[in-house]
Subunit: 325 residues, 2 copies
């Protein structure tokens, strides 16, 4: 029970840095997101400009929540974020190149302790504490957004690896010599197919290499995006449905490989691509099962995150702040 | 320090069941294999016949070591062995099909407590306790024998997964729609290429689809095996060297994917294929690095097990017996 006579830091800040947008929220001990906001990740080529804008926006929320004295700390989820060093290193989907001491920079600006991890790891922690993975000791979280991230939990613990960078399932090679990833220079990675960007390129490829009729043919290629493909698919457009079938085939293969690696009881999917529902889930499940050896078949649940839009990552990131010292 | 005035069980039995042969040994607390032996895994289609033969052979060693009273227990490593249930389930490379309650059967025969795990998991424990992985908290053990097995250690713990079957890297799909695995019915798995059997089939494929001169052309195809390919390669046979180059290309890709999953500080390789030394290691290293995104490059050591022939698995299996209760 809460002892209200003791003054204590009751709030944490969770920040989720994505390839496109950065979401942040003020979270209480029970996992309620009290206030939240968002800025673009891509406005500033210099990380300091980004942190300044973040500080301006978050300061408004901090004031609303009773001032900086209420806060225990800040947790940050970011692509290629390193839990051990607090740095972002060579993140292919962020505008800041090389090694960025992000935790230190945010700490200096906000005067609060900062813990950083990979954005998908943060989401996994959020799902484990408040979401679809509550009570699970072995699961894999996969975020299907602009890019593809993952967080792996085994024996009830997040797997960080020797250097803090474990869980880059999005960069595993699923189609050798396949589609080029412009950010990494590697061919055939999961992220090149099972992301919003991947869906866009698959659609353009199908439009260019087939004569299948499609309402998407009336849209200039530069304007095709995953949202338009989704809208065409739910209206029954066959080509758009083939895009999801193809994407699910590759995602299903990647999930099968992940299952044969760490044998989770569930895979939690999160992010824009999951909004397509059975259009993507049905082929994903089918091709996962088809690629599993018998001992793994019909055992692994594919769950869709039911946490509110991006809350998983904000909640997970904020959970890091409670953990800190 | 040992207190010799106290009579205690000082010995354990380690059993390593492989696709071809089953090795066993009597191990003391310091990891010395005092006595050991081997039988074929393939003589008996009925698992009870196999256990009877194992009992006859091991009883001789048990007598030599001072009788059953000296023994704490038995640890068994076997393909598809389940740590939680003590069963072997649907092992594609073993003659016994379905779900076999192996631990229970051995326990009944030997009247000693039995702990079972995956053969590669047992090898990983052996390497961690006595071998190349001593002191490592994050590594992956890969056994390249008749088949391909793996054991994954993260945060200093072996990853068993929710059902005890984690670490089946050999069955992950590396080449979609690739070579058929006769045991699993799946196409393009690592095991179909980076195993003794895989080397044999790659050689036959190269002999059939190219006109490259090779001393292997004088051997009837049915008689080609990985040993003959190795002998040709060390004599400079170009086709045999291409076999290793091709095998290393696929193994390297699989290692890159494994690294991006759990970010180990080292990968320990073990088994027949590693005897080819740089013939296989050089292309494996090159293609692993080529498929890694920057943040993982030039960090992961590829180590060769230096434990004596199969001792890793016997030692690892025996270590399970010390653990037990």
């Amino acid at each position: 029970m809460a002892d209200n006579s003791i003054v204590r830091e009751q709030l944490a800040i969770g920040i989720d840095i994505g390839g496109t947008g950065t979401k942040f929220g003020i979270v209480d001990h029970d996992g309620n997101v009290l206030f939240n906001g968002e800025i673009s990740t891509r406005t500033h080529d210099d990380v300091n400009g980004f942190i300044n804008e973040l500080h301006v926006e978050l300061s408004k929320l901090i004031e609303k929540a009773g001032g900086i004295g209420q806060f225990k700390g800040i947790g940050v989820g970011a692509p290629n974020g390193n839990y051990y060093t607090g740095t972002i290193e060579y993140a292919p989907n962020l505008p800041w190149k090389g090694i960025i001491p992000l935790a230190k920079l945010i700490e200096a600006k906000f005067k609060l302790p900062v813990t950083l991890t990979n954005d998908a790891n943060a989401a996994a922690i959020g799902e484990m504490m408040y979401g679809a993975a509550k009570g699970l000791r072995d699961f894999i979280m996969i975020t299907l957004g602009t890019g593809v991230g993952s967080g792996i939990v085994a024996n009830g613990q997040l797997i960080y690896g020797h250097d803090g960078f474990a869980g880059e399932l999005g960069h595993t090679i699923i189609i050798p010599d396949g589609r080029m990833h412009p950010g990494t220079g590697k061919r055939g990675s999961l992220e090149s197919y099972a992301s919003a960007t991947g869906v866009k390129y698959t659609t353009i490829e199908l439009l260019e290499t087939t004569t299948e009729p499609s309402m998407l043919r009336s849209i200039p290629k530069e304007e095709i995006d995953s949202k338009k493909v989704y809208e065409a698919a739910i209206q029954g457009d066959a080509l758009a449905r083939h895009v999801y079938e193809y994407t699910g085939r590759i995602l299903g293969l990647a999930l099968a490989n992940a299952v044969m690696f760490s044998s989770p009881s569930a895979i939690v999917l999160f992010g824009g691509l999951t909004k397509a529902g059975d259009l993507i889930l049905k082929p994903t499940r089918e091709h996962m099962e088809a690629n599993l050896i018998q001992v793994f078949q019909n055992k692994v649940k594919i769950l869709i995150s039911h946490l509110k839009e991006s809350d998983a990552a904000i909640l997970g990131a904020s959970a890091l702040a409670w953990e800190k010292r």
